[in-house]
Symmetry: C2
Subunit: 281 residues, 2 copies
């Protein structure tokens, strides 16, 4: 890239999402800018990434050998091919500094190589105990066992490496969205700490869950992700507004909506409760 272009472009900050704008501010004013609305805006934007990742995974059939530990053997006993691709790609990204960002959570945190890039000053918004909240094992389980069989077609086209790369993409965007619950919890705590402090001290998960639950918002989220799946997963033709392909989607909007309702939203709230229970540590 031309140095001049880089220099010109780098002069102006971009406004994009809470993670990329609000959070980039100096620590001192992060608290002011962290609002429930800004956090929700980011969650809304992440829905698109999730829908895209599922549509891209659905271009491949199931490709079962990707998940079969007996399919291949490699020194280091990685289990299945998808485990190898996820572990080793996470290792590459760890060296490049991905997991220095508190919004990113590896699926295989053990033996991850350290970052080899200069440290970046991510703002400290969360309680440091946030680092102990990681539900990726559960996300791995529900993605492969609950979601995947519902939105990919059966079959085997041999593209297991590409399939695993697409799975990693799905896992990463789901993980990012679900662990964003830490920020949701933080902003809710800041807004209404008087309500949250007693159940936190009493370790009353039930009351915390009730406080965190907004049925109307959850309903709207489910409706919106279904709409996104139908818009982003449609066949697009030029000069053809016929209804020929109407109702044909690359990933069933009802599956995405149901997965959100059954897993994404509940797991996000699990993260919120786990984070809150450590909020006063």
């Amino acid at each position: 890239m031309d140095v001049s272009v880089v220099i010109v472009l780098i002069l102006v900050r971009w406004t994009c999402s809470i993670s990329e704008v609000e959070m980039v501010k100096a620590d001192s004013d992060v608290s002011d800018r962290l609002t429930l609305e800004s956090v929700r805006d980011s969650l809304i934007r992440q829905e698109g990434s999730i829908v895209f990742s599922l549509i891209e995974r659905a271009k491949f059939p199931l490709n079962a050998p990707t998940y079969d530990p007996s399919y291949f053997s490699m020194p280091g006993s990685y289990g299945s091919l998808v485990e190898l691709v996820v572990k080793q790609t996470e290792a590459v990204q760890a060296k490049a500094g991905r997991y220095e960002n508190p919004e990113e959570h590896p699926f295989f945190p053990d033996d991850l190589p350290p970052s080899q890039v200069p440290p970046h000053k991510y703002p400290r918004v969360l309680n440091p105990a946030a680092v102990f909240v990681n539900v990726n094992k559960k996300i791995w389980d529900v993605y492969f066992n609950k979601l995947l069989p519902l939105f990919v077609a059966p079959g085997d086209d041999g593209n297991y490496a590409s399939t695993a790369a697409r799975d990693l993409e799905c896992l990463q965007v789901l993980s990012r969205r679900i662990h964003y619950g830490k920020l949701v919890a933080e902003v809710k705590f800041r807004d209404e700490w008087k309500h949250y402090e007693p159940p936190i001290r009493a370790r009353d998960k039930k009351t915390l869950m009730d406080l965190l639950t907004a049925p109307a918002v959850e309903k709207a989220v489910k409706k919106r992700v279904a709409k996104k799946a139908s818009i982003f997963g449609q066949e697009v033709k030029v000069g053809d507004d016929s209804d020929e392909n109407k109702g044909k989607y690359k990933v069933d909007p009802a599956v995405v909506s149901r997965f959100y309702g059954d897993w994404v939203i509940p797991l996000t709230k699990d993260v919120e409760v786990q984070y809150l229970l450590r909020r006063l540590d």
Copy 2:
């Protein structure tokens, strides 16, 4: 995943794209099924992947240190961070067998580790000399120097590893689409070999390029990718059909359309010509 689910799902083949359906057939009937229409269908589907990958990259600002060789130093002198991430991720995917598929082309083919998975019998559709046609150096150049500055916002949010991962995604889908020109050329050659053989023997690139050029098709492609960029890059709201966000897109449809016209289509035709010149070897 439940073994029973896998067994049930694996019983049926999925129908998806030429690479995943037509090409998976036994060698004997591939010739019959490889048609200009099926190849074009695959190219159309790949447009969506390209638009998705650009929208996902555009979530991050430019993040110039990702491309600056002086930003970090690591044993092995990888150059910039994006080079490290691309090289090392390609190495992971190579071990998992990605580049055994003749439709996939690495950006750093030197020193790529061999596949460590059992060989998959990809159908032999192309002339074996196809392996010598790889325009990834040019794709790398135009992606970083021509396209990237046009669709990402200026700024720096520190997420260089994620940025590089998104760049790799863009590069891979562009590479796949452009090298699909080999299949386009093969099917055109089969359909009209009498027209192609004389200029191939005469090494007459100009005539070959004229034979391969269909201005009406190219115009339709450019129009369709712009439409896809506007549909997939819109803000989606539930119960809000106001025009508030009309015309606001995550990636400018005109930029995508122009990039297709200026680079994607011409590079695809370059691949077609290069392949045809070796077609009779």
